[in-house]
Amino acid sequence: MTDRALAVVRAGALTTVQDLGRPGHAHLGVPRSGALDGPAAALVNRLVGNPPEAAVLETTLNGCAVRPRSAVTVAVGGAPCPVSVDGRPVPWGAPVRVPGGALLSVGTAVSGVRSYVGVSGGVAVEPVLGSRSTDLLSGLGPPPLTDGTVLPLGRPNGPHARVDVAAHPGPPAELVLRVTLGPRDDWFTGTAVRTLTTHTYRVSSASNRIGLRTEGPALERARPGELPSEGMVLGAIQVPPDGRPVVFLADHPTTGGYPVIAVVRATDLPAAAQAAPGTPIRFVAVRRR
């Protein structure tokens, strides 16, 4: 086997391969998938000299550890965390040279949820429908990493960025999500619509790549029953029978039968990906652009 590879020493709670996802196949029941915090994935790719579509690792809460077979440049971004090479601390949010056979350790997130590990050349697992992303809903793409997984790497594209430390938005103490109402706000009582946009919700620990689940006041329906299945968009706030809103993230189902009361602006979703369980959420109604 080629020496352009990464051996996974500690997979962590949930580490997946992610890129820009596979949009354009929703009509076949294929979720878009892709990095939940897109700007963070783009930044680590830029830091190591990769194009934006290169695949990176997305960790969940407690990082991961990997051993490259030959020297690579890496950068860790997204949720801030300690980073070390063979036990020696190295900078987070900056390009770092890791010698072949050395152990890159990505620690537990100090804040936020998902750290991103960019590696020069990108993770080069076989693409499925044009993407290397792991899709936890449909099972497309590589399975989540396990200890001992060996991931092939691509050829480095160019020099890494000449920066010391890249600026980044810190994970939010409060998650503010701007929403436009509809398409099914008329399925809810007026009180429910006001409740959504005036009460504070909290991020539930049941959240995952499919959806950001919430805890807070239940939203009351103005009419019973289910909709015939209809197409779902990224950021849709679906309200299941328990009345607690769920914000659809990258691995969301392409169709669904629970009514969507509002849709979160796409630009606010990277912050949602970094909101740890318990984080307060405010849904703010805005006019459609």
Binding site: G24, H27, T180, G231, V263, R288
Partner: protein, 210 residues
């Protein structure tokens, strides 16, 4: 026809029947192919078509509101044939719901001409319409924890084929060896919205064995 805005870049176009949804879907695909509609995803469903990734949803909504549901597209003539063994565990229950002898289920099902109304639930899972309305059946009260790949099932007005093993609540009437989804194949999905389908009996169980 109603066009409901969905966020800043999408429209949900709502019609009255699944036939209208299929006709609208075909027309939107035609418009995208000829270049008069720029959109990332066209996702048909039971009574709606979602258009996602639009530059100017407001203008398109106005256009659609002023237009009629297009006529159904002519049949392309191309039909995907799916060989089925009508040996599903719910065959007797479906026969009872239809009020026909068990062996009639295969004949009635195989005589229908189906069309993929939409996909969802799993990659390559199509919701097929075509059975006369009186043959609609409810989902099973308790879903199965595992339904094998290739299981042919009924729920509501739809027929579906499970592309891979998964939990499921559809009434299972048969089994096929057809590969519904293979991401190494082009196209990966055997069935996509608009595909015409016929089920062809391939060695049904002898009458009376169930």
């Amino acid at each position: 026809m109603r066009a409901l805005p969905v966020g800043d870049r999408a429209l949900l176009v709502e019609v009255s029947t699944d036939g209208e949804a299929q006709a609208l879907h075909a027309d939107l695909l035609r418009r995208r192919a000829e270049g008069s509609l720029s959109v990332q995803e066209i996702v048909p469903a039971a009574r709606t078509v979602l258009l996602d990734g639009l530059d100017d949803p407001v203008r398109l909504a106005q256009q659609l509101a002023a237009s009629q549901v297009p006529p159904a597209p002519p049949s392309s003539g191309e039909i995907v044939e799916i060989p089925v063994r009508y040996d599903g565990p719910d065959l007797a229950e479906v026969a009872a719901l239809w009020d026909v002898p068990v062996h009639e289920v295969a004949r009635i099902h195989a005589a229908a001409e189906f069309r993929v109304a939409f996909c969802g639930f799993a990659p390559g899972f199509g919701y097929l319409t075509g059975l006369p309305a009186r043959y609609g059946v409810p989902r099973r009260a308790t879903p199965r924890t595992t339904v094998p790949a290739g299981a042919v099932g009924l729920a509501g007005p739809y027929t579906g084929v499970y592309p891979r093993p998964s939990p499921g609540g559809w009434q299972l009437i048969g089994t096929t060896d057809a590969v519904l989804w293979d991401h190494a194949r082009v196209p990966a999905a055997l069935l996509s919205p608009g595909t015409q389908v016929r089920f062809v009996p391939a060695g049904t169980v002898p009458v009376g064995s169930s």
